[in-house]
Symmetry: C2
Subunit: 356 residues, 2 copies
Amino acid sequence: MIEHTLDVPRDPAQEVVVQAEALHELLVKLLVKKSMFAAEAKVAASRLVEADLRGVHSHGCRSVLRYLKSMDLGNIDPRGRVLTVSETPAMAVMDGSRAMGHVAATRAMQLAIQKAREIGTGTVAVYNSQHFGAASVYVLLAIEAGMIGYCTTSTGTATVAAYGSTRPGTANNAFAWGVPSRSGPPFVLDMACAISSWGKVESLGLYGRPIPEGWALDAEGRPTTDAKAAKTLRPASGARGSALAFLSSVLAGPLVGGRMPLHKTRAPDVEASEHFFYCIDPEKFGSLDRFYAELDATAAEIRALAPEEGFDRVRLAGELEWERSEKWKREGIPFHRDQMARLAEAARELGVDVPW
Amino acid sequence: MIEHTLDVPRDPAQEVVVQAEALHELLVKLLVKKSMFAAEAKVAASRLVEADLRGVHSHGCRSVLRYLKSMDLGNIDPRGRVLTVSETPAMAVMDGSRAMGHVAATRAMQLAIQKAREIGTGTVAVYNSQHFGAASVYVLLAIEAGMIGYCTTSTGTATVAAYGSTRPGTANNAFAWGVPSRSGPPFVLDMACAISSWGKVESLGLYGRPIPEGWALDAEGRPTTDAKAAKTLRPASGARGSALAFLSSVLAGPLVGGRMPLHKTRAPDVEASEHFFYCIDPEKFGSLDRFYAELDATAAEIRALAPEEGFDRVRLAGELEWERSEKWKREGIPFHRDQMARLAEAARELGVDVPW
């Protein structure tokens, strides 16, 4: 069961704790230094800090150094203007204009929410964007608006074995579904389609731990437990993970003129990222009171089930991340000290004070 | 890997072969005998035969005896009139009126297709319906219309362990995604959220085989390999399967006033089934030629990857079922002789000739 229960690695001796507000402030300053508009820098920084608060460190501020470098190289356009290029009352297609993916994705989900509010559902697909970070933070926007939200994205090359082969056929696409609640944490499913995320493999490598058996293959397609040798991941649940990844790449890809991962290269000056958002307003489908009453009662009953060995209690999807986020908002976010040292160094280079 | 590769059990010595047209003819006659209108009986029979052609026998004609009995008991209304109760250009809510679920679901997907044709996407949710059979046959309707289709359904009580518990928390909801192609079989992902479908457990029991270890728990929550003792299935991929099942139950459930599986009973006179359909017209999102060129090229390259041990070649989702369907349309569908004997007996009781 290790494939499912492995959480963020923790080791206080290797960590420093940073307050969410201070981190947000630093990220905004760094992004503004690269000439992003402050309003858009704040949006991007919020999405990054939200990911860190949930413990999705691979898609939090750890990525910002990569983004800053991409801006230097001209691959992310800090002033890229996200444009709606075609639209009906139910859907829209947006050009991400190679701006920060977090900005394009936030705009797209907001437009999907607005359409859903008016007509019951909203679908927005984005091409020519950049990496948008953690999928969960966008469905949280839908949840805050009282909506059911879905999103998926396609960024990288094929790094997940096709089902039935040891050779890569799909990317490790992530997708998320969010459902609001009136009592208790909202439901947030955020999953990648391989057995693990690459971020988790990276985190294990950073903490000097082996990756579990059965997760990865090396460059020759042989099984490996070495995070550094891992080149291809196995799909989750075999055929199912493989198919879910393929589907994500279709919605966030060819649907808006983008390429499938097998055709993407590792060259960031050529490659864009595509995103897909779908939003449902429950109010247009039936009674809101009945919707929430049924959902919240069921969630409470599932949480009250007897936990099996190895679990302290039963949680619904996204509940652990919600608890963590609430706790870390109060107490600060623990990061690996090496990661924070690199961030501080980048800040020094740009002449930005580190507010901790 | 047995969880993913186990296919329909086959044993020619225990089988009879029936032509698809003859089966369709018999099913229509049986349903009309229970006072369904011929046009609707044909729709329902088509969906059932399509499931059998794909090898999804649990959701094919094997179910018809249960449906006929439900009509006798007044739980399925053979003349139930499927009604659109609320609607915007993007979405609709339908009352399934306890008609055959296959009829309501076909109507709903057709309406979603029509809306997508006009406005880019269509979403239709159905309440007060009945069991709709195999999810894949509805996304095939979208595919035939050149659309990307999604559907999910919620019928039964909670029979899948909540993640972190050995007690049931969700149903074994199925969902399907379909993507059209111009060359080669279309992509059809049809998955349940538990490690296995209950139908597969039933099929294994029928052929006198044990179910693989790790699939099921008995009434006391203990692991079992006995198909008859199995009362609760494990979720696929742990937390992920559990969350995907929960999500399906929300879309096909509380969204349109229905109950979650934990609150459903086994009493068919009380319980209804809910469905959810979502359709996307690629033509409204970008160039169709580019969409198909990219998709078909990628599919061909994935199919050409070197297969690993235990696979004759690499297939995309739904490809095996597509090949089987094409083959069985020509050669007839093999069924377990006991299943066909029971169907023939039902036909005799209703005074209907068996056309083989």
